[in-house]
């Protein structure tokens, strides 16, 4: 087992553990912090796949901007002292069972796929390749994908106007 595989499994364990902790934390602030940990470990996966631009953007945009927005809202509402009302235990059990069955189906699809491609496995190249570098991404983004990029600015403008209109007092 090479060093890449060891790092991969450690990152997998970190990702899944912190994702589960997002659910089971009682305090919403702790949930936000565990979600930040999840984003950092996903960024670690991106770095392993040599997608360096996306790794940095994931940290800056998700773990930085979006999570700070969540923290602001939680502190604005002063939710961190209040405990959530008890949900019906049967409803929780039903949610876990239906999510687990979804996971079961998807995992069995993956197992069938990996048995079918046992002879010629599809490999995601780690620690190599140059498509994740900012130079190549920028060139494609500003030539081939220039129109969607400009549409994103319109989307942001409408989101900003929408947030102001919704958040305004009457």
């Amino acid at each position: 087992m090479g060093i890449t595989a060891i790092v991969f499994w450690i990152l997998c364990a970190l990702t899944l553990f912190s994702a589960i902790m997002v659910l089971v934390s009682k305090n919403p602030v702790h949930s936000v912090l565990w979600l930040v940990a999840t984003f950092f470990s996903i960024s670690g996966h991106y770095i392993m796949l040599n997608a360096q631009f996306l790794a940095i953007v994931n940290i800056i945009v998700y773990a930085g901007a979006i999570m700070v927005l969540f923290l602001f809202v939680i502190m604005l509402m002063n939710l961190n002292t209040r405990t959530e009302l008890k949900k019906n235990l049967w409803m929780k059990l039903a949610g876990v069972i239906s999510g687990g069955m979804l996971l079961w189906i998807l995992i069995s699809v993956v197992r069938t796929y990996s048995e079918q491609t046992k002879v010629h496995p599809v490999i995601a190249a780690t620690n190599t390749g140059s498509i994740g570098l900012i130079k190549n991404l920028g060139q494609v983004l500003f030539t081939q994908y220039a129109l969607p990029f400009e549409l994103c600015s319109v989307l942001f403008l409408s989101a900003m106007v929408g947030a102001v209109v919704i958040g305004k007092k009457n």
Binding site: F8, T15, A124, I131
Partner: protein, 107 residues
């Protein structure tokens, strides 16, 4: 790394997000679980973008997947700003962020 490891990781993350949406009542945590599902899809897109070995004729094969991840992040940022504004408005009107109270929006 074989691609099925990444697929398995991504579907597990996605299922954790689905379970979170189903079992939690706090609207903010439901929202965070949606972010978790978006990130699972992002991870899968990046992993699949690296399955195309670069050749001399197509040195940038698979770069579309990473650009799609970029656009997903942009849309997620816009979605979060509007969604949190809705949650703040809900809290101002009902003094609660419990999703079971959302049926009050009916009247």
């Amino acid at each position: 790394m074989p691609i099925q490891y990444y697929i398995a990781l991504a579907v597990t993350l996605f299922s954790i997000g689905v379970v979170g949406v189903l079992i939690r009542r706090n609207a903010i945590i439901v929202f965070m679980c949606i972010e978790l599902m978006l990130n699972a899809a992002n991870l899968l897109l990046v992993a699949f973008s690296k399955t195309h070995p670069a050749t001399a004729t197509a040195p940038l094969a698979g770069i579309d997947g990473q650009l799609f991840v970029f656009f997903v992040m942009v849309v997620a940022a816009a979605e979060v700003s509007v969604g949190l504004a809705i949650i703040v408005m809900l809290y101002r009107n009902t003094h609660s962020v419990d999703v079971d109270f959302l049926n009050r929006l009916k009247n």
